[in-house]
């Protein structure tokens, strides 16, 4: 594993410059192009490699809600805190979630410092291994993520059932990408009086599409008349997708195009889909931080796996908990506001002390903007001489 090949090929400066020229030539000066990248992975790549610097001023990237940590509402964080603090379980989750503020700015990390047994895992199978190693303790895996992280959760639930593992359960927070994208445009058309700038096109998710395929985006394109280009997470993928979107908009076309053909097919990973269908079913409705309650937008564990469903196994209190009033995470997640337009940004709300969830994960728009994007233009010339 020490050699990972084909990294540089997707980060080549010469190719990037050529694509930048292509984008500059294709973008018509008389109009603006507002394009949303849905996924946190794309947001991260755009900031980390400085992709925005290579785009003309009238091509603007808007950062979407595709960050699993960012869209988890306070009430679900509260469930995690209850499990860890009141039910004495070993609570396992992915790292970023540990810093997300819940009610009264409590976090799992603070709960851990108070003595709760909260542990970070790198994969769902680590959670299962922990349950096997601690037969005398209740072990709960707090599962989050879009369609990318869902199949591994399905696999561990099937394994737990096959082994009749009595001390293991999953608190399921898996959410679905297509309903979220739809919601962003549906709400924009609902609130015609809100001066939300129009989103002209979408960069579709990379890893999520590897699982669900490109087909689910076809209905979206037809219903909302916005082009979608599915792209990989490398910076050249992102730039190629931007060029493809601009060409579609110039031609008046509205299609699902696939830039990420080396991984994504129209039907996706059918085996993974079957696994998910076996273990999970749609929830009627699920709350998203920033987007509100969205119908049929999340998964729950099927009754046949009820013994492994932490929501059924533990009496958890559910309360609607409002976000900080000044926090603009909701508007940021919808692409209506930019992080710097939020009063809390970089003043009260920082990665060390996040108020809103977008400031927590490096995939969140606020954290990415804070960490990578605050460069002052005046300094840019000095960079050219660096080294």
């Amino acid at each position: 594993m020490t050699t990972v090949r084909f990294i540089d090929e997707f980060r080549d400066r010469t190719l990037a410059a050529r694509l930048a020229d292509g984008i500059a030539a294709a973008a018509r000066p008389e109009r603006a192009y507002r394009l949303m990248e849905f996924c946190g992975g794309h947001t991260h790549a755009i900031f980390r490699y400085g992709v925005q610097d290579l785009l003309p001023a009238n091509v603007k990237m808007v950062h979407g809600p595709g960050c699993p940590v960012c869209v988890l509402p306070m009430g679900r964080i509260d469930h995690a805190l209850q499990l860890a603090r009141e039910h004495g379980v070993i609570l396992l989750t992915y790292g970023d979630l540990m810093r997300v503020p819940g009610p009264e700015r409590m976090t799992l990390l603070k709960a851990k410092a108070e003595g709760a047994d909260v542990r970070m895992v790198y994969s769902a199978s680590d959670a299962l291994a922990c349950a096997r190693a601690n037969p005398g303790r209740e072990v709960v895996f707090f599962a989050i993520g879009f369609e990318t992280t869902t199949p591994p959760t399905a696999i561990v639930l099937r394994q737990a059932k096959a082994e009749s593992l009595a001390n293991f359960s999953v608190h399921c927070n898996h959410v679905l990408t297509p309903p979220a994208i739809t919601s962003i445009l549906a709400s924009a058309s609902d609130q015609a009086d809100t001066p939300a700038p129009r989103l002209d096109g979408f960069i579709g998710p990379a890893h999520v599409s590897a699982v669900i395929g490109s087909r689910p985006f076809e209905a979206f394109v037809r219903d909302y008349q916005r082009p979608v280009v599915i792209a990989g997470f490398e910076p050249l993928d992102v730039m190629q997708a931007i060029l493809m979107l601009i060409r579609q908009l110039n031609d008046g076309r509205c299609e699902v195009e696939n830039e990420y053909t080396r991984v994504v097919t129209r039907d996706g990973n059918v085996k993974a889909q079957a696994l998910m269908a076996d273990v999970f079913e749609l929830r009627d409705s699920f709350e998203w931080r920033g987007l509100g309650w969205l119908d049929r937008s999340a998964l729950k564990i099927r009754d046949s796996y009820a013994a492994f469903d932490a929501e059924k196994r533990f009496p958890l209190k559910s309360a609607a908990i409002a976000d900080n009033k000044a926090c603009e995470c909701g508007a940021v997640l919808r692409g209506i506001r930019e992080p710097v337009e939020c009063k809390l940004f970089a003043t009260v709300c920082t990665p060390e002390n996040p108020i809103g969830s977008c400031m927590v994960s490096s995939e969140g728009a606020c954290a990415a903007h804070y960490t990578f994007g605050r460069a002052r233009p005046a300094l840019a010339p000095a960079l050219a001489d660096a080294g």
């Binding site: 050699t3 990294i7 992709v51 490096s362 002052r376």
Partner: protein, 349 residues
């Protein structure tokens, strides 16, 4: 009691023996541990005198002093262990002032039940590192805590050294226009340690870069006595170091990503784990800030030393009242290189 006496008579049982509470209680067991393990391994006349302190002459120049605590999981990793790390780390902190390290003191807090064989290996590794560096471990302390109240072993080392007259290296002295020089590739130590973490274990031929840098520093100071600032990038990686210096010196730093050496194995591991090598720990690298006109001479001196073979100028100090570290990316854009918030974590999406 007869059982205990027999064990004393037979010497430390490295094959099956473990640290017990009485190894830290000041009695015969502790004396035996000190004599058979520490004195024999660290072997120097200061320790042989068995005082609670070491007394030595100091030559001309200013005295430098530092202390560092070492906690690491796992204790043994490719290319090193907590023992040599505790020696290299403190020697490097002294060396970063442009100083020649003289002596080390060591305090160990050991958990009851810790295998004597592992302790022996750690002590041997400390002794070898100190000997290679020409720095004696002249005094020490041992405590044992109950099982469950420690994490195997914690080591603290304290060191003293002397800075030659005329050398004035300090974190607040970087100036706009200074060249930023890095002694070699980044991230080797952090990735080597990660590869052995239980939850993450992966195969790599990568080894920690853990090394004492004082000899390299001596060559550098000889070539350019007017180095402004110097520091070794450990926890928090290169990014933390540059932000610290920018803050202390009230300047900005402009980096060139292309110039920063990263081993292919480190890039590969970081790629898979979703980490950024700029934030990954090192234990045998340094960054020096010097006037632009001295940069080539300093770089040549660094490259002439085995520990600075891959040295490169990675950036320039600029004026910036917000003290940002910024980077021209290999891709052609630019970005901020910020402090790390919390730990670096693998991405979920």
């Amino acid at each position: 009691m007869s059982d205990e006496r027999r064990r004393m008579a037979g010497g430390l049982d490295y094959r099956h023996g473990r640290i017990e509470l009485w190894h830290g209680s000041g009695g015969r067991a502790m004396a035996q541990l000190i004599e058979e393990l520490f004195e024999t391994s660290f072997d120097n006349p200061f320790l042989a005198r068995r005082n609670d302190q070491a007394c030595f002459e100091v030559g001309a120049g200013r005295l430098v002093m530092t202390t560092d605590g070492f906690v690491i999981a796992p204790l043994f990793f490719p290319g090193g262990d907590i023992g040599c790390l505790a020696v290299h780390g403190t020697i490097n902190d002294i060396a970063m002032a442009g100083a020649r390290p003289l002596y080390l003191a060591v305090a160990m807090i050991i958990e009851e039940g810790f295998p004597l064989a592992e302790l022996k290996a750690i002590v041997a590794s400390m002794a070898a590192a100190a000997k290679a560096a020409g720095v004696a471990i002249v005094t020490g302390d041992t405590k044992v805590v109950e099982r469950g109240k420690g994490d195997g072993i914690f080591i603290t080392t304290t060191g003293v050294g002397v800075v030659p007259t005329g050398v004035e290296i300090s974190a607040e002295r970087a100036r706009p226009g200074d060249a930023v020089l890095l002694s070699g590739s980044i991230g080797d130590h952090g990735v080597a340690v990660l590869s052995k973490r239980e939850s993450l274990a992966f195969e790599t031929e990568l080894r920690s870069d853990c090394a004492s840098l004082h000899d390299l520093v001596a060559r550098m100071v000889e070539a350019v006595p007017g180095i402004h600032a110097m520091r070794d990038p450990t926890r928090g990686g290169l990014a933390a170091l540059l932000n610290e210096i920018a803050q202390q010196s009230q300047v900005g730093i402009a980096l060139n990503e292309d110039a920063i050496p990263v081993a292919p194995a480190v890039r590969g591991a970081c790629e898979l784990l979703g980490l950024d090598p700029l934030y990954v720990a090192n234990e045998g690298k340094l960054v020096a800030f010097c006037p632009a006109e001295d940069a080539e001479r300093l770089l040549a001196a660094m490259r002439a030393h085995p520990l600075g073979r891959d040295a490169a100028q990675i950036g320039t100090v600029v004026e910036d009242d917000r003290h940002f570290v910024q980077m021209q990316t290999s891709f052609g854009g630019h970005r901020i290189v910020d402090w790390l918030a919390g730990d670096q974590l693998p991405r979920i999406c």
